[in-house]
């Protein structure tokens, strides 16, 4: 009797918990219209009202982009103390779920919006403006004690990381004839990160297609420690974490197949010669909110105007002046949708894509 009770008690608790995990749809906020009565004339205002701006701007999304948005928010809030800008970190994917449900105003993204997310936004009638804000390079690194690797081709990286390599490519000598007979240990970001998505897309050719037998961590500092302590290591993560740990790691140049070995640096990432592992970072702005709320409008403009100064301060690479002004134009014209059309376009430069649309 008592065993039956215990088991059924446990089951009921479980059922309640599982039921609680089901997401429930949230109501989208009712649209606001700025209406002022001036001498019995009803004027619907489109331009910002003068006087102190106040309000809350909800930002969420990628942990990679968050430091940039935090820096912008920090400076913006100094200038407009009545505006509150909380910056959430729930990952690019998790952030888009909230953004496309209308729960947030601005979305930080370390990759362009995906097809499934475009559909989710369309279903809820959320129009968004896609704005590039910075570049990030993915750095491939080995231990400083490794004296035989200075440059790897994309083909070699693919050979190491593709799903078929699992359990097979386990020795450096298998990567290239002439490499010593030493075990190969791999380090990389966890499968939920945008960095993992981008690396697999750029190297293997398909997002999330990777071997599974590598040491994965969502915390890049753990990867730094791992590679720094293992002479046979190879790993990859964002360039910002390399910059802070130059003495513990050795950067590997990448040959995209044209015979030229390029090391990632602010210059090579910004001008696109470090390929295919440099990526643009984005913010997505909810168009309706930007039209309704002055503070969002001000914030986005402030973001694009000050990114050039603030982006390097947090370890990322700013876009060119031309790209920032193209982005600002795109915002002013309220061009909605994604230039990537839901497919990652590795290799195509951002300037080409943005100009193609002007």
């Amino acid at each position: 009797m008592s065993r039956v009770l215990k088991v059924s008690g446990l089951l009921i608790v479980l059922a309640v918990l599982i039921a609680a995990c089901q997401p429930t749809p949230t109501a989208t906020p009712t649209p606001q219209v700025f209406v002022t009565v001036v001498k019995e004339q009803v004027v619907v205002e489109v331009t910002p009202t003068p006087g102190p701006v106040e309000g809350t701007i909800l930002v969420d999304g990628s942990s990679t982009v968050a430091p940039i948005t935090m820096a912008v928010a920090e400076e913006f809030q100094k200038q407009y103390p009545e505006v509150r800008v909380p910056v959430g970190i729930s990952g690019t994917g998790g952030g888009f779920k909230k953004f496309c449900a209308g729960e947030t105003d601005i979305q930080d993204a370390s990759r362009p919006i995906k097809k499934s997310e475009i559909e989710a936004c369309a279903k809820n009638n959320i129009e968004y403006i896609e704005l590039p804000v910075a570049f990030d390079g993915l750095a491939v690194m080995v231990n400083p004690a490794n004296d035989f690797v200075t440059c790897l081709t994309v083909e070699e990286l693919k050979k190491i990381w593709e799903p078929e390599a699992e359990g097979k490519i386990t020795n450096w000598s298998q990567v290239r004839a002439g490499f010593p007979d030493r075990p190969l240990t791999l380090y990389g970001p966890g499968v939920d990160s945008g960095t993992f998505d981008y690396f697999t897309e750029a190297i293997v050719g398909k997002a999330k297609a990777s071997r599974g037998d590598f040491l994965a961590s969502e915390d890049d500092n753990v990867l730094v420690q791992g590679i720094a302590g293992d002479p046979n290591a190879l790993g990859y993560f964002g360039l910002a974490y390399y910059e802070e740990n130059k003495d513990k790691l050795k950067l590997v140049a990448i040959d995209a197949g044209d015979g030229k070995c390029v090391l990632p640096s602010p210059e090579t990432v910004a001008n696109g010669t470090y390929k295919p592992l440099s990526r643009p970072l984005f913010i997505y702005v909810n168009r309706a909110r930007a039209d309704q709320k002055d503070e969002i409008n001000l914030f986005v403009k402030y973001y694009l105007e000050n990114a050039k100064k603030l982006v390097p301060e947090v370890g990322y690479i700013p876009l060119t002046d031309e790209l920032y002004s193209l982005a600002l134009q795109r915002y002013e014209k309220r061009i909605v949708g994604s230039v990537f059309k839901g497919e990652a376009q590795v290799g195509m430069t951002l300037a080409d894509l943005l100009k193609a649309e002007q």
């Binding site: 008592s2 009770l5 215990k6 059924s8 008690g9 446990l10 009921i12 608790v13 309640v16 918990l17 039921a19 609680a20 995990c21 089901q22 997401p23 429930t24 949230t26 109501a27 809350t56 969420d60 942990s63 968050a66 430091p67 948005t69 935090m70 820096a71 928010a73 920090e74 809030q77 509150r84 800008v85 909380p86 910056v87 959430g88 970190i89 729930s90 729960e103 915390d219 890049d220 500092n221 910002a240 974490y241 910059e243 802070e244 740990n245 301060e313 947090v314 370890g315």
Partner: protein, 305 residues
């Protein structure tokens, strides 16, 4: 052995137990005692050693950043200007509100289950569930909070959603510790009160609660100490957020100390890791003072029967 026993038949001998002969062998037993003593000593030294190493490292890293700005400034991208202001506000608010909600609920439930509830199938069922819930990982409560408070009740990423989630996390612990404290009061006290004509509630209010209040409060504060260090359930409800403004009330967005520490630890710059260490010192200080308060309350409120 006596001759009488030796002369019995073999079948009788098998039925009788072998006479036990005590061999002192004192030296060997003393050696064994010493060995076990050292094993136990090593066990405690290992634990203390680990804790000390951790504390020394944290203090070496964090002390330079333990300065007034740490309490007055908001988080910043410059480690030298960064502080815990919003996180400290969030943690204090969270603890006070959680205490206000979980105390009546937890202690009330404990009193009912221990003093009033009839011993039947339903109460047994509830008791088993409470005990089970005390062992559920806190992230599960985070998911429950996300579904129930953040989305279901539409509270969003607000402080009150965090408070209610945290209440769920510590409620089973409070109920269990309240019951333990009530159980420590001897039955004779209850019988004496009832024999003199007190109602059940009068007996609980004027006698049982008075004697067990020290224990109840200790359990309550230890549960809250667990709550103040919890990160997982709050991250689940979306509190992993950069906040550079003052908390305005229960419906406002918030962050707490462990989350700010988590955030700083994951930054690439070494200086932020040191800042995280100073955050850990602050969190430890808050925790230790809460525990000290628990001990003080227990000593003050402890009434003997």
């Amino acid at each position: 052995m006596t001759k009488g026993i030796q002369q019995t038949t073999s079948s009788e001998r098998r039925a009788l137990p072998e006479p036990f002969i005590f061999e002192p062998n004192l030296d060997r037993r003393k050696v064994i005692a010493r060995i076990w003593e050292s094993v136990a000593l090593i066990a405690i030294l290992l634990g203390i050693g680990m804790l000390l190493t951790l504390l020394v490292r944290v203090f070496l890293d964090g002390l330079p950043y333990l300065r007034p700005q740490l309490f007055t400034e908001f988080p910043s991208r410059f480690p030298d200007k960064a502080g815990l202001r919003s996180a400290l506000q969030g943690s204090i608010w969270l603890m006070v509100l959680t205490a206000l909600i979980s105390f009546p609920l937890g202690v009330g439930a404990g009193i009912y289950l221990e003093e009033f509830a009839p011993k039947n199938v339903v109460t047994r069922f509830i008791e088993i569930n409470v005990a089970n819930l005390a062992g559920v990982p806190s992230i599960i409560y985070g998911l429950l909070g996300l579904g129930l408070f953040v989305r279901g009740l539409g509270l969003g990423r607000s402080l009150i959603a965090g408070v209610l989630t945290m209440t769920l996390v510590i409620l089973p612990v409070i109920i269990v510790s309240t019951r333990e404290a009530l159980r420590a009061v001897p039955t004779s006290i209850r019988e004496a009160a009832l024999a003199l004509g007190a109602s059940r509630w009068e007996m609980v209010r004027d006698h049982v609660l008075v004697y067990s209040m020290g224990g109840i409060l200790t359990g309550m504060i230890l549960a809250l100490s667990r709550g103040i260090g919890e990160t997982a359930p709050l991250i689940t409800i979306g509190a992993l957020t950069y906040i550079a403004f003052d908390l305005r009330g229960p419906l406002d967005i918030f962050t707490v100390l462990p989350i700010q520490i988590f955030n700083w630890v994951s930054m690439p710059q070494e200086a932020f890791h040191r800042l995280a260490a100073s955050g850990i010192i602050v969190l430890l200080a808050v925790l230790l003072s809460m525990n000290a308060l628990a001990i003080w309350l227990r000593n003050r409120l402890q009434k003997r029967w």
